[in-house]
């Protein structure tokens, strides 16, 4: 599974969305996605509401639709699966465009499609308007254990460096004619991974030494910033509150 391109996900800007405190945005995005996930699939109107909310945020944050479309290709395999379902599923058949497909299958495909797209778009908007260190800070403010957040911080910090090292090893191998096509030829790749682990471990020891040199005693210091203003919470809450309200109405109607 591709891991995506880190820095390419953030779009620099000063919109109202960009300037919201990160914990507010993370909480709002998460609540929004929950609303989407629990909505019964028959409630088309609710999904239209979500779509409008998401589009509104995208406009406010000046995130171009093309950008969203490109990033959404990450969920392509699941969209493909969704499209396949009506053809392979069991259940009563219906006629669509001359093809006989499963009625239940169509409902399922719609359900998976709309939730995956809305969920992914919400995530992408969060990441497009919030720089990575801020997302981590937001997580910390939302009571994610600080050890977890610290580990995540180190991971994000050293990811590019380590990925580059791996890339350099691969180039060095290719420069010496290594172009494997079968699993039993993958030995050198595995060796590169093993070597990379050792180098990474040794780097972590040097980093630890640098931390000790600056007074680290086993607990990361508290470098948190000011808590979010009430207005930030109010502004950000608009989207998920509306969404959750829609979801609850939809569920009530469905019961």
């Amino acid at each position: 599974m591709g891991a995506g391109h880190a820095h390419a996900l953030y779009i620099h800007g000063h919109s109202r969305v960009h300037l919201l405190a990160p914990e507010v945005k993370v909480a709002a995005a998460f609540s929004m996605v929950v609303a989407v996930a629990i909505t019964p699939r028959e409630a088309f109107w609710a999904f239209a509401v979500y779509g409008a909310l998401v589009a509104a945020v995208a406009v406010m944050a000046s995130v171009p639709p093309g950008f969203l479309a490109v990033r959404l290709t990450a969920i392509l395999p699941f969209i493909a699966f969704a499209f396949l379902i009506p053809f392979v599923a069991s259940g009563d058949r219906v006629e669509v465009l001359g093809l006989s497909v499963s009625g239940e299958g169509l409902w399922s495909a719609w359900n998976i499609l709309v939730k995956a797209v809305l969920g992914a778009t919400t995530s992408i908007l969060l990441v497009a308007t919030t720089e990575v260190p801020e997302i981590l800070r937001g997580m910390g403010k939302l009571k994610v254990p600080s050890v977890f957040v610290s580990i995540a911080g180190f991971m994000v910090r050293y990811l590019e460096l380590i990925a580059e090292e791996l890339g350099r090893m691969r180039n060095a191998m290719r420069a010496r004619g290594y172009e494997p096509r079968w699993l039993w030829q993958a030995g050198p790749y595995a060796s590169a991974a093993g070597t990379l682990f050792v180098r990474s471990y040794e780097r972590s020891e040097r980093v630890h030494a640098a931390m000790l040199s600056r007074g680290y005693d086993g607990a990361m210091p508290d470098l948190s910033s000011k808590p979010a203003r009430g207005t930030d919470w109010a502004v950000a809450a608009a989207m998920p509150v509306l969404a959750l309200a829609a979801a609850l109405v939809a569920i009530a109607g469905w019961l």
Binding site: H7, P133, V156, R157, R206, A209, M211, S213, P221
Partner: protein, 238 residues
């Protein structure tokens, strides 16, 4: 006034038995800038790692501004001795430059407004204030080096120990670094292969080889002695 640094008959062997430091003795006065020169494997970096207690010697002692280095004094020694590592990447491990520069002082107990002030001062001293919100992996080599120095200056040390500070820098960055170090009024110990930098920056130099101090004196004199240099796998580039 006690010397800024006193190393007395320091000896250290690696766990596998290899002798890395052999009765190293060195004294540095407050405000001095001393270069530590020598071939690869001479023990220069190993010595640097002893100065703030990352490595602990087998025999001998280290005294910083009159304070003897041992288990109990370690935190204070680490404040007094600011170590700038060879690879800036090892030293910049926080999500942003501001976080990195603040890491040290925060560990010393600073917080809130005091912390912010200290961070601003340190960043200003090396000229990286504009980089405050940047992530370290997006900085250039020269910028990383300067920020690394800031992270250490933020602890208001008495001695700056720099391990190969000019390694990997282009000539312009290198010049900026030398100017920066000349401008900071603080005792400096510079481990380096860059002999011209040593000549520029440090009036006094020490040559190490095989874990021992083999020569000591005015940098201009040592570097003029080509036989001495050649004997320890050193040579001036011009």
């Amino acid at each position: 006034m006690p010397p800024a640094l006193e190393v007395n008959r320091l000896s250290y062997s690696y766990p596998d038995g290899k002798r890395a430091l052999d009765e190293v003795t060195l004294a540095v006065e407050a405000g001095e800038r001393v270069a530590i020169l020598g071939p690869n494997g001479a023990g220069k970096t190993t010595l640097a790692m002893h100065l703030n207690g990352l490595f602990r010697a087998n025999t001998g002692s280290i005294t910083i501004g009159g304070l003897h280095l041992d288990e109990k004094t370690l935190p204070e020694i680490r404040r007094r001795v600011g170590l700038v590592f060879q690879d800036a990447n090892d030293q910049l491990f926080m999500p942003t430059v501001r976080d990195d520069v603040g890491f040290g002082p925060a560990n010393l107990g600073l917080a809130g407004h005091d912390l912010d002030e200290r961070v601003s001062e340190a960043m200003g001293a090396v000229g990286v204030s504009a980089l405050a919100g940047r992530a370290p992996h997006h900085l250039s080599g020269g910028e990383k080096r300067k920020v690394a120095i800031a992270t250490v200056l933020a602890m208001e040390p008495e001695i700056l120990v720099l391990d190969e500070p000019s390694a990997g820098l282009d000539p312009a960055n290198r010049r900026e670094l030398i100017d920066l170090l000349e401008g900071i009024d603080i005792t400096q110990i510079v481990v380096t292969h860059d002999l011209p930098l040593a000549l520029d920056l440090c009036p006094r130099a020490v040559i190490m080889d095989g874990g021992r101090v083999v020569a000591e004196g005015a940098t201009t004199e040592l570097l003029a002695d080509s036989r001495l240099l050649a004997g320890h796998r050193l040579e001036m580039p011009y």
